[in-house]
C-alpha cells in the first residue's frame, strides 16, 4: 500500500517532483484506467477496451498498452511513444482522498511519500511563500477531471451492461518469431448487438452522447495491429542483442 499523506504547504514546501520519472512509471504498465474525457485523445493512439477488476468483477475502461502483465509497448527508450499520456499516469504521485471530518465531503490531495518521483530536482509544489505552483494546480485539475470522469465512465459502463453490449475479445496472436499468445480478460463493444438495438434504444444513446465513446472504442481496436508490429520489432531487437557475433 502506498503511504498516503495529505499535502500541506509547510511540510511539503520544498518537495519536488520529477515529471520524467512520473512518465517512467508507465514502463511496466499494460493497462491504464481512463475516463470518458480522455476518449478522444486516447483513441488516436491506444486501443480502448474494458477489463474486469479482479477483486470486484466490475468493468473498467482502460488504454491497452501491452499484451501481458509488465509489458508497455508504448514506452520505449525512456519515453512514451505517444503524444498523449493517460491522466492516471501523469497525476502520480498524487491521489484524491476524502476528508470526512466536515459535514460535506471534502476532497483533499494526497501524496504518496514512497514514490520514487519525489526528488531533489524537478517541479516544485509550492513557491517560497507557500503558494501552490502551476504544476500543483495542474495536478489538482487533473485529479478533478479524473474524479468527475470516473462517475460518467461508471454510468457509461452501466449503460453498456444494461444493453448487453459488452463481449469478450479473443485475441490469438502469432508473432513473426513463432511465439503464440492468447490474450484473455479484455472486452469490447459487441457490434452485432449494437446494430440490433431498437431505434428507441439507439436514439437514447445518441441523446446521452454515448455514441462517440462507443464508436471510438470500436475504431481504436485498430491500434492492436500497431502493437503486434511493435512487439515483432522488439523481438527482432532482442534477437540482435542475444545473437552471437559472427
Amino acid at each position: 500500500m502506498p503511504k498516503l499523506i495529505a499535502i500541506d504547504n509547510n511540510a511539503h514546501r520544498d518537495f519536488m517532483i520529477d515529471p520524467q520519472k512520473v512518465e517512467g512509471l508507465g514502463v511496466e504498465t499494460n493497462m491504464v484506467p481512463i475516463v470518458m474525457d480522455e476518449f478522444l485523445k486516447t483513441a488516436t493512439r491506444f486501443p480502448i477496451v474494458l477489463t474486469k477488476n479482479t477483486e470486484t468483477g466490475q468493468f473498467s475502461v482502460i488504454a491497452l498498452c501491452g499484451f501481458e502483465v509488465g509489458e508497455n509497448l508504448f514506452y520505449r527508450a525512456g519515453k512514451w511513444e505517444s503524444l498523449y499520456i493517460p491522466l492516471n499516469i501523469l497525476r502520480q504521485p498524487f491521489y484524491l482522498g476524502s476528508d470526512n471530518s466536515e459535514k460535506e465531503e471534502q476532497h483533499i490531495i494526497c501524496l504518496d511519500l514512497d514514490s520514487p518521483c519525489i526528488t531533489d530536482k524537478g517541479k516544485r509544489l509550492f513557491d517560497e511563500n507557500g503558494e501552490p505552483e502551476k504544476y500543483l494546480t495542474e495536478m489538482q485539475s487533473m485529479l478533478a477531471t479524473l474524479y468527475h470522469g470516473e462517475r460518467a465512465t461508471r454510468e457509461f459502463i452501466n449503460t453498456l451492461t444494461a444493453l448487453d453490449l459488452i463481449q469478450q475479445m479473443s485475441l490469438d496472436i502469432k508473432f513473426d518469431n513463432g511465439d503464440a499468445l492468447k490474450v484473455q480478460g479484455i472486452y469490447t463493444i459487441d457490434e452485432q448487438k449494437l446494430n440490433a438495438l431498437s431505434s428507441e434504444q439507439f436514439s437514447k444513446l445518441r441523446q446521452s452522447n454515448l455514441l462517440f465513446p462507443i464508436y471510438s472504442m470500436i475504431q481504436s481496436l485498430g491500434h492492436i495491429h500497431w502493437m503486434v508490429n511493435q512487439r515483432n520489432i522488439r523481438n527482432e531487437d532482442a534477437k540482435a542483442w542475444f545473437s552471437e557475433g559472427s
Binding site: K52, N53, T54, E55, T56, G57, Q58, F59, T161, D164, I166, Q167, Q168, G185, Y187
Partner: protein, 517 residues
C-alpha cells in the same frame, strides 16, 4: 382437433413455478403463440419447502427462464454446491468419507481409470482416494473454495457447480418472474372439484370462490396430496420402501457461530445409526436434517443422534418432522393431466433427485408440448416410459449408496445389504461390475439421469473392487492413466491458488454482482 391453447398448473411450490417458467419461456420466445398459462395456488397450503440442493441443470433452467445469476444469489439465499461428501457411509469411523463431485474424471472414457488407480494404489504409487486421484473438485471442496471467480461470467464456471438455496425463496422469486416477465397468470384459490369430459379428460377445475378454470392440459404440482393424478384419477402408488427405507425427515435451520464462518461448497451427508444427516450451507444459515427409517429406530433415539450432530444449540431450534413414503406413481401422465414433483413421487433426499426430476419433467413438457389433444396420448405414453425408466435408474443409484456399506452397527445398514431389498436388475448390473468398471455402454439410453462416472465415484469411493477377468493393458492406456493422475495433481496446484474462498465469493456476488459476459 382443438390445438393446445391453455395450460393450468395446480400448485405453487418449486415444481409449479419451474414448470410454469420453462413452458412460458419456451413459448414466449417464439412470438405469436397464444398459449395461456395459469398457475392456481392455494392461499392456505404452504409448499413443503425443504429441498435445498440442486443439480448443475438449474443453471440452464434459470438461464432459459431469463433469470440472472446475480438476482438468483440475491433473492434465494443461494450458495455453491460442488457435489456431495459422504461421511461415515462405509465404516462409520471418523476418517471415513468419499466424494461424489460434479466434474467428470479427467480423461474419462479414454482409459480405464479405476483399474489403474487400484493398481497404482496397490503398489504404493498413489495414496489418494479415487475421486481425489482423478478429479480436482474434492481438493477444491476440502479447501473451502468456490467453483469460480468474481471475474467469471454469470453461469460460467471454473469447476462445475450446482446450488444450495432456500427453496421457499426460490418459489417467491420464480413466482414474481413468471408473472411479471413471462406472462403467467397467477390465481390464489383452492381447487374444490374436477369437471370432466366424456373421455375422462379434465374439462375444468372448480374453485372455492366459485370460478371454473378450463384448460387443454392440467399439470398436477400439488405435492404429496397428488390432487389430480392420485386423488382424481386414482393412479396407483408404487411403494419403494422395501428398497429405500427412509420414511421420516427431521429438518431444522442452524445459525452460523459467527457471521464470517466458512460456507461448505458441497452437501455433507453423514451416515447415522438408522439413516443419514444432510448438512447444507447457505450464506445466512445451515439447513440440517436427519432422515431415518422408523422401522429401525425410535423418534427419541433419532432425535438424540440429531442433537449430537448439531451440538448444544439444538435445544433452541425448531425441528419439523416430515413423513416420507418412498415411491412413485405407476403413471405420471393420464389423459390431459401430468404430474410434476412430489405428486408424481418422492424417494428420499439423497443426491437431490427430486428437483432435477421436476426440471426434467418440465423440460419434457415444454419441448414436446402436444400441439393438440389428438397427439397427446402419444406424448403421454412416451413421457410415462421415459420417466418410469428414470425413476427406476434413480432408485438403483440411490440404493447403490447403501449396499456397499461395511457398517454392521445397526439393522438399518445390515438390512440395506440384504439381496431381497435390492432390485434384481441392479443386482445383475453389480455382478457385471465385479469384473469390469461401469462405462457409458451400461447407460446408453437417452434418458439416463446419473452417468457412468457417478457410479464410478460411488463404487470406488466406497471401496468396491473390480477384478478384471483379463490382464489389464500395460501400454498406452496405462501411460494415459498415469499422465492423467499427474495432470490432476498439477491442475490442482494451479486451481487451488486461483480460486477464492466460498464465502468470500458469495459475499462479493451479493455486493458487486457477476457480469453477463
Amino acid at each position: 382437433m382443438n390445438p393446445t391453447k391453455e395450460i393450468v398448473i395446480v400448485g405453487g411450490g418449486s415444481a409449479g413455478w419451474i414448470t410454469a417458467g420453462l413452458i412460458a419461456a419456451e413459448y414466449n420466445s417464439s412470438n405469436g403463440n397464444e398459449l395461456k398459462i395459469t398457475l392456481i395456488e392455494s392461499p392456505t397450503h404452504k409448499p413443503i419447502g425443504v429441498g435445498e440442493g440442486t443439480w448443475p441443470t438449474l443453471r440452464t433452467t434459470l438461464l432459459k427462464m431469463g433469470i440472472s445469476e446475480t438476482q438468483f444469489f440475491h433473492e434465494c439465499d443461494a450458495s455453491f454446491k460442488q457435489g456431495a461428501k459422504f461421511a461415515k457411509w462405509v465404516t462409520g469411523k471418523d476418517d471415513d468419507f468419499y466424494y461424489h463431485p460434479l466434474m467428470l474424471p479427467q480423461n474419462f472414457g479414454k482409459t480405464d481409470l479405476p483399474l489403474y488407480w487400484n493398481e497404482a494404489t496397490n503398489v504404493g504409487e498413489i495414496q489418494k482416494s479415487f475421486s481425489d486421484a482423478v478429479c480436482l473438485q474434492e481438493a477444491i471442496c476440502e479447501a473451502g473454495l468456490a467453483p469460480k471467480k468474481i471475474t467469471t461470467p454469470e453461469f460460467g464456471s471454473v469447476a462445475n457447480y450446482a446450488y444450495h438455496l432456500d427453496s421457499a425463496k426460490l418459489g417467491i422469486m420464480l413466482q414474481k418472474h413468471c408473472v411479471e416477465k413471462l406472462g403467467v397468470h397467477h390465481v390464489l384459490d383452492d381447487v374444490t372439484g374436477v369437471n370432466v369430459h366424456e373421455n375422462g379428460d379434465i374439462k375444468s377445475l372448480a374453485t372455492k370462490t366459485g370460478n371454473e378454470l378450463p384448460a387443454d392440459l392440467f399439470v398436477d404440482c400439488t405435492g404429496f396430496s397428488s390432487r389430480l393424478l392420485g386423488q382424481h384419477y386414482g393412479v396407483p402408488f408404487i411403494d419403494k420402501s422395501d428398497v429405500l427405507f427412509i420414511d421420516t425427515a427431521l429438518a431444522t435451520h442452524v445459525p452460523y457461530e459467527t457471521e464470517d464462518a466458512p460456507i461448505a461448497s458441497h452437501t455433507i451427508s453423514t451416515g447415522q445409526k438408522a439413516g443419514w444427516v444432510w448438512d447444507i450451507g447457505l450464506p445466512t444459515r445451515r439447513g440440517v436434517g436427519y432422515v431415518y427409517s422408523s422401522k429401525h429406530t425410535t423418534e427419541d433415539a433419532a432425535m438424540a443422534e440429531y442433537e449430537k450432530y448439531i451440538g448444544p444449540e439444538f435445544s433452541s431450534l425448531d425441528v419439523r418432522k416430515i413423513p416420507i413414503t418412498s415411491g412413485h406413481r405407476e403413471k405420471f401422465w393420464v389423459n390431459n393431466c401430468v404430474a410434476v414433483g412430489l405428486s408424481a413421487g418422492f424417494l428420499e433426499p439423497l443426491e437431490a433427485s427430486a428437483l432435477v426430476l421436476v426440471e426434467l419433467s418440465a423440460e419434457f413438457i415444454a419441448s414436446q408440448l402436444p400441439s393438440s389433444r389428438a397427439v397427446m396420448d402419444i406424448t403421454a405414453r412416451r413421457f410415462n416410459e421415459v420417466f418410469r425408466y428414470r425413476w427406476d435408474r434413480i432408485i438403483d443409484f440411490l440404493k447403490l449408496h447403501y449396499v456397499l456399506t461395511k457398517r454392521t452397527d445397526s439393522d438399518f445398514w445390515i438390512d440395506n445389504c440384504r439381496p431381497e431389498s435390492i432390485p434384481q436388475s441392479f443386482q445383475d448390473q453389480m455382478e457385471l461390475w465385479k469384473y469390469r468398471t461401469p462405462n457409458d455402454s451400461d447407460f446408453d439410453s437417452n434418458n439416463e439421469v446419473f452417468p457412468a462416472a457417478s457410479y464410478q465415484y460411488v463404487l470406488y469411493g466406497m471401496g468396491f473392487l473390480t477384478n478384471p477377468a483379463f490382464n489389464i493393458c500395460k501400454g498406452s492406456a496405462e501411460e494415459l492413466a498415469k499422465t492423467t493422475f499427474a495432470k490432476v495433481d498439477s491442475l490442482k496446484q494451479k486451481i487451488l491458488s486461483d480460486l477464492p474462498k466460498n464465502r468470500d465469493l458469495i459475499e462479493k456476488i451479493r455486493e458487486y454482482g457477476l457480469q453477463r459476459v
